[in-house]
């Protein structure tokens, strides 16, 4: 199932818009995220790191405790062919601030990327991130969102969506997903965006845009996780595309107080064009317990999220 907007002819529907956007052939060939890493097969986080290292020429990565810390592999080897500092789980924002200041003081080149999970961003780590953003530290903070604490065995985070099974929500999560992007909007960042590993060119474009801005930049990256979402290894891209087509995951940018829906998500402004929510839910074992009533609740939260964003368009 190939969605037209992901084809090799650009990310957007109209020819003139397509010209302005990156196409798959423009993705750099160089691989700085090396094979033989320790990620599960089909890991969205692993693809995210690979694409990040293509988008940014000299990334200097700061990574709090997460699956990211593990997938780089064991001493004395690392799959990261770029500098990477492993740091305590709460400290991504503050450690990245320090690295950024140090690079500047030493006159060394490098783009500081804090690469944190949803737990290390939405829960443990929110304070350090908020502090960095308020000070306007020159960093790109990427929250790779696999919607649970995967590294420690799939516990719920505040970014786990409603209805999802985790080992600590055996009957499905009662609460709704915390919208970290909305919290970051309140920090008046120069640049903020959402992205998905299922749309590589869109993610790379956004990273490059972020790199061109000064101050703190934030990108929330949708990163499917086969064991945590109870999907087949081969389905992580498919489920990422479905999330966008169903309108559950909205690709957008926030600059100068304005939201602009990214070309890939633009058709789904019209609720009638969205794929049925059940197509998205039924592909994933983690939503197996979601009944009719709960599906309606989730549907309502999707509508509400679009309505919230439309206030800033």
């Amino acid at each position: 199932m190939e969605s037209p907007e992901r084809g090799q002819l650009g990310t957007s529907g109209s020819a003139s818009q397509a010209d302005e956007h990156m196409i798959i052939k423009d993705i750099p060939k160089e691989e700085k995220w090396l094979p033989g890493n320790a990620a599960c097969p089909g890991c969205g986080l692993s693809l995210g790191l690979r694409l990040m290292a293509k988008a940014i020429e000299h990334p200097v990565v700061v990574m709090p405790a997460s699956c990211g810390s593990v997938v780089q592999g064991g001493w004395p080897k690392s799959s990261a062919s770029f500098p990477l500092l492993n740091i305590a789980m709460a400290a991504a924002g503050s450690a990245a601030s320090g690295v950024s200041e140090a690079l500047e003081a030493l006159g060394k080149k490098g783009t500081v990327v804090a690469w944190a999970g949803d737990g290390g961003t939405a829960d443990i780590g929110l304070q350090a991130l908020s502090g960095a953003a308020e000070r306007g530290e020159n960093i790109i903070f990427v929250m790779y969102d696999n919607e649970a604490y995967m590294n420690t065995g799939i516990q719920r985070s505040s970014s786990t969506p409603h209805g999802a099974w985790t080992t600590t929500t055996p009957e499905g999560k009662r609460e709704f997903k915390k919208e970290v992007a909305h919290i970051m909007m309140a920090h008046n960042l120069e640049y903020m965006a959402t992205a998905s590993v299922a749309f590589p060119t869109d993610f790379i474009e956004k990273l490059r845009k972020a790199e061109a801005h000064k101050g703190t930049k934030f990108i929330q990256l949708f990163s499917p996780c086969p064991p945590g979402w109870r999907i087949d290894y081969s389905k992580s891209i498919e489920v990422g595309k479905l999330a966008v087509q169903a309108g559950v995951w909205i690709l957008y940018e926030y600059e100068n107080g304005k939201v602009s829906i990214s070309p890939i998500s633009r058709p789904y402004l019209d609720a009638k064009k969205r794929r049925p929510l059940k197509d998205y839910l039924s592909l994933q074992g983690r939503f197996a317990n979601v009944d009719e009533r709960e599906a309606t609740e989730i549907e309502k939260s999707v509508v509400e999220k679009w309505r919230f964003l439309s206030r800033f368009m």
Partner: protein
């Protein structure tokens, strides 16, 4: 120097004696292949490309989480079987079904 494009797109700085010395003194690792071991041993099925069906769209290359699809200068693609984990994303996403997953 060999045509880098044809042989490999991997960027792996050679470890010199200075960086190797650091390795013994500090808790650091150096970039290399197989940091998680020989990951081809994880595979239950392997992707096989039918080059006649391939339209060189490089979607499989863009979507592979492992960087184990080699994109050649003419945009034809080749699997790196040393480390491919057999996730099957490439086969699932290929628009012409040029990739088949076959039992090891």
């Amino acid at each position: 120097m060999a045509d880098k494009d044809e042989s490999s797109n991997y960027i792996v700085p050679a470890a010199d004696s200075k960086s190797k010395a650091l390795l013994l003194r500090y808790p650091i690792s150096l970039p290399d292949f197989g940091s998680g071991g020989k990951t081809n041993q994880w595979r239950l099925q392997m992707p096989v490309i039918d080059q006649d069906k391939c339209i060189k769209c490089i979607i499989c290359w863009a979507d592979c989480p492992e960087a184990t699809i080699h994109r050649k200068s003419d945009d034809s693609v080749e699997i790196n079987y040393d480390y491919c984990k057999g996730c099957g994303i490439c086969a699932n996403e290929c628009p012409t079904k040029a990739i088949r997953m076959v039992d090891e």
